[in-house]
C-alpha cells in the first residue's frame, strides 16, 4: 500500500519539477484483469490469433489500461484520488505485451503549468514503452486548494 501522504504545497511547486516517476510491469494477466474489471473484452487484448488476423504486431494493452495506471503516480503524489479534476490523453502508439516477458511502461510526471488563482497544477505525463512515447498530450489537472 502507498503511504497516505500530505497534500503537496502548491506554493513550493515550479514548472518543470518532476513530481513522480514509476515503472509498471504489465503481463498478460494484467490485461485479463483489466478486461474483467472494465468490461472491455475485445479479443485483441488477450488472443494472439485474433491480433495477428487484424494485422497487429501482437496482443496489445488496452489504451484505457495505460491511461488508468499512468495517472496513479500523480494520485499518490497528490495524496487523494479526488484531487484529479481533469485527465486527458491521446493514444499514439500501442503497447505490445509479450506472452512470456510482458511489457514495462515508464511514467514520468512533471509540472507543466501552474494556475495560481485556482491553485491547480497541470501535471504532464511522459509515458514510454521501449523508448517511445505511447500517450500524447497526457495532462492531469490536480486541485491543490
Amino acid at each position: 500500500m502507498a503511504a497516505v501522504s500530505a497534500t503537496p504545497s502548491f506554493d513550493e511547486l515550479a514548472v518543470g519539477d518532476v513530481v513522480a516517476e514509476r515503472e509498471f510491469a504489465l503481463t498478460r494477466d494484467s490485461l485479463v484483469r483489466y478486461a474483467g474489471a472494465s468490461g472491455d473484452f475485445n479479443p485483441i487484448h488477450y488472443r494472439d490469433d485474433v491480433a495477428a488476423t487484424v494485422g497487429l504486431p501482437g496482443v496489445l494493452a488496452h489504451g484505457m489500461l495505460t491511461m488508468g495506471f499512468a495517472v496513479q503516480p500523480v494520485v499518490d503524489w497528490a495524496g487523494d484520488p479526488g484531487r484529479v479534476a481533469d485527465y486527458q490523453v491521446r493514444f499514439t502508439r500501442p503497447v505490445v505485451v509479450d506472452p512470456a516477458f510482458g511489457a514495462t511502461v515508464s511514467v514520468t510526471a512533471k509540472v507543466g503549468q501552474l494556475d495560481v488563482e485556482a491553485r491547480v497544477a497541470r501535471i504532464d505525463l511522459t509515458v514510454t514503452f521501449g523508448g517511445e512515447t505511447v500517450l500524447g498530450k497526457a495532462q492531469v489537472r490536480v486541485v491543490l486548494g
Binding site: M1, A2, V4, F24, S30, R33, Y34, G36, A37, S38, G39, D40, V54, G63, M64, L65, M67, G68, F69, V71, Q72, V75, D76, D80, P81, G82, V84, A85, D86, Y87, Q88, V89, R90, F91, K137, V140
Partner: protein, 146 residues
C-alpha cells in the same frame, strides 16, 4: 459514417450503481494502491462516504453509452474499424461507492478526413440528485475502406 449524427442526444443509459467491490476490483486492475481507493476508513477519514474510484473509472459507465452509439442503426459505424483516438475525463467530484449514476451521450462532432471519420462522443454522468459528477469525452476514429 452518417454526418447527421452530430448533435444527437441519446436517451440516458440504465442507471449504474457503483459497488464497493467493483471500485476495489477496478483499482487493482489499474495498479491503484492508494488506501482511499480500497479502505472505507481511509476514505471516510478523507471526507468521503465510501471508497473513491480511480480517475478513469467513469469509462465503465461510459461504455454503456458508447454501445448505444455503435448500435445505432443509421450511424454507419463498423465496430471492427473503430480506433480509440483520445480520451478525457472532466470531473466535478470523484465517483464514490454507493453512487447511482446516470449517463447521457451526446455526439459532439462528426468530422470526415478523406476515407476516415472522427466522432467525438461526450457522456455526461450525473448522480441520484441530478448533480454533475463527470463528463467522459472520447474521440473515435472510424477507418474508411481503403
Amino acid at each position: 459514417m452518417n454526418p447527421e449524427l452530430q448533435g444527437r442526444v441519446f436517451p440516458p443509459a440504465e442507471p449504474y450503481l457503483v459497488g464497493r467491490e467493483k471500485v476495489r476490483e477496478f483499482a487493482r486492475a489499474v495498479f491503484a494502491t492508494h488506501p482511499i481507493n480500497h479502505d472505507t476508513e481511509a476514505a471516510q477519514a478523507a471526507g468521503y462516504a465510501d471508497v473513491v474510484a480511480p480517475p478513469t473509472f467513469a469509462v465503465v459507465v461510459q461504455e454503456h453509452t458508447l454501445a448505444q452509439l455503435l448500435a445505432e442503426p443509421d450511424a454507419g459505424i463498423d465496430f471492427s474499424r473503430v480506433v480509440h483516438g483520445d480520451q478525457r475525463f472532466t470531473s466535478t467530484r470523484p465517483i464514490v461507492a454507493g453512487d447511482l449514476l446516470t449517463a447521457t451521450l451526446t455526439v459532439a462532432s462528426v468530422k470526415t478526413l478523406g476515407p476516415h471519420s472522427m466522432v467525438t462522443a461526450e457522456t455526461s454522468v450525473t448522480d441520484a440528485a441530478g448533480e454533475h459528477v463527470v463528463t467522459a469525452i472520447s474521440t473515435l476514429v472510424v477507418r474508411g475502406e481503403e
